[in-house]
Symmetry: C2
């Protein structure tokens, strides 16, 4: 950051350093894919990366810093994957495709899903920079929903709950299967039938409705 380019050599070194960091993060993901997210240890990581434990500390301040770098890579993959251009044009098809991408992203790598979307590592919270790409992806969902005439914030929340609920049940109760993910198109249809017909904004009505009709 500070004292950036007094010499051009600085860039080489920075590049090599970043490359080495990336290699360590890659080894960390390899290990986690085989042993599970919670089974990451610096010993194993160093062995996998062909270095020793102290060398790891030459690139990362702590174990949580490694988790953060892993989170950052996963978040970037997520944003890239979710913002790829859509083939379909019709809003419903776009939403189905978008949700399908999310499902595939999550179910194809459960450890990545756990790190990104569940808070399962004790004492770890992603830094703001690592988190930023995930926000971008959520903006895409918001835009696609708007194309389908779904604009209320609460409906974006309902959307994320619905799609994420399918994924969560899938990975928790039928890992590797499709018991819940096959319901995705039906779920999107259900959601759109509801959100499209809902009143655009909670108007200045005195009460939402009479209580008898709700219960």
């Amino acid at each position: 950051m500070s004292k950036s380019n007094r010499e051009p050599t600085t860039d080489w070194r920075e590049a090599r350093r970043r490359s080495a960091r990336e290699a360590i993060v890659g080894a960390a993901w390899d290990l986690v894919h085989e042993e599970g997210l919670a089974a990451l240890s610096l010993r194993d990581l160093a062995g996998r990366a062909g270095i020793t434990t102290p060398t790891v500390y030459a690139y990362f301040d702590s174990k949580n810093a490694i988790y953060d770098a892993m989170f950052g890579r996963a978040a970037t993959e997520f944003a890239d994957w979710m913002t790829q251009p859509q083939e379909a044009a019709e809003p419903t098809a776009v939403l189905v495709s978008h949700a399908r991408r999310f499902v595939e992203f999550c179910t194809s790598d459960v450890a990545r899903y756990q790190l990104l979307f569940q808070r399962t590592i004790p004492n770890f919270e992603p830094s703001a920079e690592s988190y930023e790409p995930a926000v971008r992806a959520l903006d895409t969902a918001r835009a696609y929903l708007a194309l389908a005439e779904v604009t209320q914030p609460k409906h974006l929340d309902l959307w994320t709950a619905l799609i994420n609920g399918l994924v969560d049940q899938q990975v928790s109760n039928d890992p590797g299967g499709e018991r819940w993910t096959r319901l995705l198109e039906e779920a999107v249809a259900m959601f759109l039938a509801h959100a499209r017909t809902a009143p655009a904004v909670q108007g200045p009505r005195s009460k939402p409705r009479d209580r008898g009709a709700r219960r």
Copy 2:
């Protein structure tokens, strides 16, 4: 089990033994509520229970056996809570109340939710006996859905995904708040509007539809 009542003293001892086990499990839950589910250690547990580590092994074979006992207690609480008699009679109201109970159960104790419904403890899987009460609760949901004329198995799956998705988003992204749980009644209405009008069974149609309409 075997050699049960050769002496009446046996019952006393069994009762005291079970009582001591329950006390340890209670201390384990206290500790987990304060430190987090993954932070359970036998040292801390023994200290909390006023005993020493070896004594814990007089009642449980391993740490996972303690998790299993914790799981069993949580599953029983869950079944008791979810099968309490309903005040409402109208099917929709019953379903809303049932789902509300689920949400309250989960959000009121996140550690319990994690142990029961997410697989976050490595190398731990609940025994069949500990798991049994949870199945009973799911049967209740099935029955309530049937009262609302929702009988297809896939709709039970969609139901669990939807309600659990709300809970998951709530505890993951807005712990202590109500950003997602407040959408529960709307979610139930959305679900019923869909599941009630859906054809009862996937008929012997040749193709779901022409492909152009889908994408």
